[in-house]
């Protein structure tokens, strides 16, 4: 397991969540926030290897709605916040500040 990212993928942008309240979910691996439907449609922008795209069960399993705080990362490499949160290599997008669910530990 792991998130292989190529330079081209980093250039990509993750969709902003269409819903940022209760309907949004965060990836347990990279904390990317999207709605359930967005995860199904697009998968996770970072964790392509998780193969969440099109797989409802995997999305349910690998994302959580139990998170707090939200960061919009516009330029991860230049941002100190991105570095501090270790999101510097992630695609620009909305991320959770922290995940609550203890199920995130694998």
């Amino acid at each position: 397991m792991g998130a292989n990212r190529s330079a081209s993928e980093v250039r990509k942008l993750a969709e902003a969540p269409l819903n940022f309240g209760k309907g949004s979910r965060a990836c347990l691996y990279c904390k990317l926030v999207q709605t359930y439907e967005q995860f199904i449609d697009n998968g996770c922008g970072n964790c392509v290897t998780l193969n969440m795209k099109g797989d409802k069960d995997r999305v349910s399993e690998l994302t959580t709605s139990n998170y707090s705080g939200m960061v919009s990362l516009l330029d991860g490499r230049a941002s100190w916040v991105g570095k501090w949160l270790r999101l510097d290599t992630c695609v620009p997008g909305c991320y959770a500040l922290s995940l609550h669910s203890s199920t995130s530990i694998r």
Partner: protein, 938 residues
Amino acid sequence: MDTRLHARMENQGQFERMENEEELERMIKERYAAPRYEAGTGQLDANVDQQALHPTVRDPKLWLVTVKLGKERETVVCLMQKTINLAKQGKPPMQILSCIAQDHLKGYIYVEAEREDHVRKALQGMRHVYHGKPVRLVPINEMVDSISVTTKEVSVVKVDSWVRMRTGVYKGDLAQVVDVNYADNQCTVKLVPRIDYQHLADKESGKAKGKTKSQVRPPARLFAEAEAKRLNLSFERGRYDRSLGASVDVLCSTTKLLDGYHMKTCSLATVKLADAPTLDELQKFAIGDDEDGEKGGNSSGALAALSKAVGTRKTDLKFMPGDQVIIVEGDLRNLEGVVERIDPDGRVVVNPSHKELNELLTFKSEQLRKHFKTGSTVRVLHGKHEGVVGMVVKVERDVAHIFSTVSNEEFQVFMHDLADSEETTQRIDTIGEYALHDLAMLEGSEVGCIIRVEKDVAFVMTNAGTPDRPEIRPVKLHELKKKLLSRNISAQDAHMDTIDQGSMVRIIDGKYKDTTGTVEHIFKGTLWIRARHVQEHGGIVCIRARNCVAHGGNKGSQIGGGLAAQMMGAHGMPPKSPGHALLQSSYTSGLRGDLMSQSLQAPRAAPPRAFGGPGRRGQDPLIGQTKKVRAGVYKGYIGRIVDVTDTSVRLELQAQARTVTVNREHLDVPQVAPSRDSFLAPRATSMYDAPGSRTPAHYPMTPAHGGGMTPMHGGMTPAREAAWNPTATPAHIQDNWEPTSTAGTGWGAGNVGYTPGGYGDSSALAGPTPNAYGVGATPGAAYGQTPGGYGQTPGGYEADEYVAPPAAASWPEDYKGRFLPGVVVRLTSGAQGYITSVAPAGSSFKVKIGTSRPRDGVEVLETVPKSAPEETVTEQELEIVRPGKKTSVIIVTDSGDASRGDTGELITIDGVDGVVRLSSTNDVVLLDMSCLARRWVE
């Protein structure tokens, strides 16, 4: 945690890229060669990395931007969307780097940018941003804090967890999680239903529209199909529910029911983990299982299963030295032992109870569980039964069955709620200064014995109850007025024998007939008995003393210390030596032998405990009679004569709870000069009885008490004698009586060289001068000296002896009825008169007929001529005349505040009650009109 996770992910990624083993080795060395700052945390690498990431002056800055309340996330997401839109349109990106919304920071977001104008530019056109408000720079040392989230330890709701509902009709109710769907943030819980059947029925029939739902929360109880049927609710049986994997019943096509429980699917947000469900709550679930047809399985089994489901909670694992424990984890599982001590680090040192293990073993508290063996005495630490001490009678897994030694009840508690009772840190059997089985005064002059103590409430058995219908009342500490001591108080049983605290008594009627118990407390003729065989109320029975018979068991104390204590209490006199009393008892026992065997119903054991009383009774008929005092400080008082000397009598007052000494002349009592010789003889041999055991306890006299003196008068004990009187000399035995009135004693003490005769005067009344005193030098003359003595009283004692005045009600002792002398009666002929005398046993009555005249429609006796005829009639021919207002009355039946024979004035009539001013005490009391009769006053 999150950063670490992420770091690990990254590392994994790197590892995968590093095919080369050497490269891997180099990398590891590089990493771990760094100095360890925090040994043993295992997070060293992550922390060091994070340290290096602290912001510097070269890093972009954070700016605090004011936004509309509640729109923080939206703004952050909008900025992201704006970026995406700009990128799609090929426009140059904004110069901000990130923006952050913290959940706890309402109305603000952080924006990361190099310069303030970058922030302002990026925010242009954004809704929800207060553009007028200044953008503030976050100081560099606060940047980390700004974007950190302090995550608390979040406990997770799992299947089988016990939760409490946060909202709705079930708010606060305990529920068990049967299914959790983390993805949907939902769970299914099992609840004891609170179904408002009527509301459902209204809803179904469409009537509910106008109606508001009842404000009353429906009670939690298992689903009753009968109720649903009664209201014709739609009910579907056995529909398969996929999430539960079982067939459920559906009520009104919404409520899923399984085995009578409500299977409710709700959001995880509406439940919270229950800290410590009490056993009582859990039992609701267990009992429910039982009711639902699982007749085979007992509820305690289900309980044990429940206890397993509750699991071990860290907070509950508190051990104390002496606790019996069992090891539940590790190699030594099932080993039992006793907690030796608790180390400061929380580890528990256990002394194993195994013959080959002699060393103390140390365990973590999670590895241990309390384990009390059957038969051990334990104390309950938590829950409903907190503080109760009892014995373990049965153990089922984690649940112990306790039999309380106090309340004689069996109940079940969790093992972890128990502690060894020897280690009583705080055993609840006291409330304030009151302890279990104490007698306490309550509000409204009620008295009760504390039979059970709970956290902040004591249960008292009041004197208002009977054995068949005990009155138990919970009282708070402030309702307990004062503690009462029964040590010096006694009561009289059915045979007029004295009952003291600690006596063994037998109950002679009612539910507890023939039950034997020890007297714990006495109060005004009411006993609180502790009976071993009584199961209810901790074995305490509240009963009237006259419904009991004293066993022989208390005789020892009667003769010895008990008596002495009573005498002290009653008369403030120094007690005699017990040996003295024994001497007397042997003297009198022979004398009374015959009488005893004839008169006693209850079997008695030697040695006899009442001295002189029966023997003397034969000599003095006055003893036992109720007389009124005609003069002296006690003028007007009525009392029963308990002892007689030739100069004075001991009078047990009816109005006051004490026994007083009254000069004989002050009573309507004849002098007994002829019998003086016979008196002298016993006195010379120290046979002088006085009512030593008469205590003030006898305020409300029982009917039996008033007249029916048995020969064996238990109260008669020798209290005084010639030899004991410090002022008397053997030559003047007849003067040995020392008045208890202060005037008398003071006088006696101040005149050491007194002459014998005069001492017998009632100095209190006469207030004699030394001169007057000196004149009465001979005993015989002394009587004449006293003002109010027989010689000077018109119609002196000789007249009184035969014609009892109506006022001083005197009647045969064996007469227990209501027609007392002086009572105004109506004959069958309609004529009215008053009773002048009563024949023995009430076989006939003499009535003096007067003339009556109607007044306010009622015939009222007006005059009784001196020469009026007397008729002799029987009880059947008599009828008591209901007294009118402002008339003189006599109490013909014992009641709370007055006893039979008392007189008074009826002030007014209040329904069935009459307000009476007692002539003896001048107290105003409320008495039932049926207790009252008009008393004829000339």
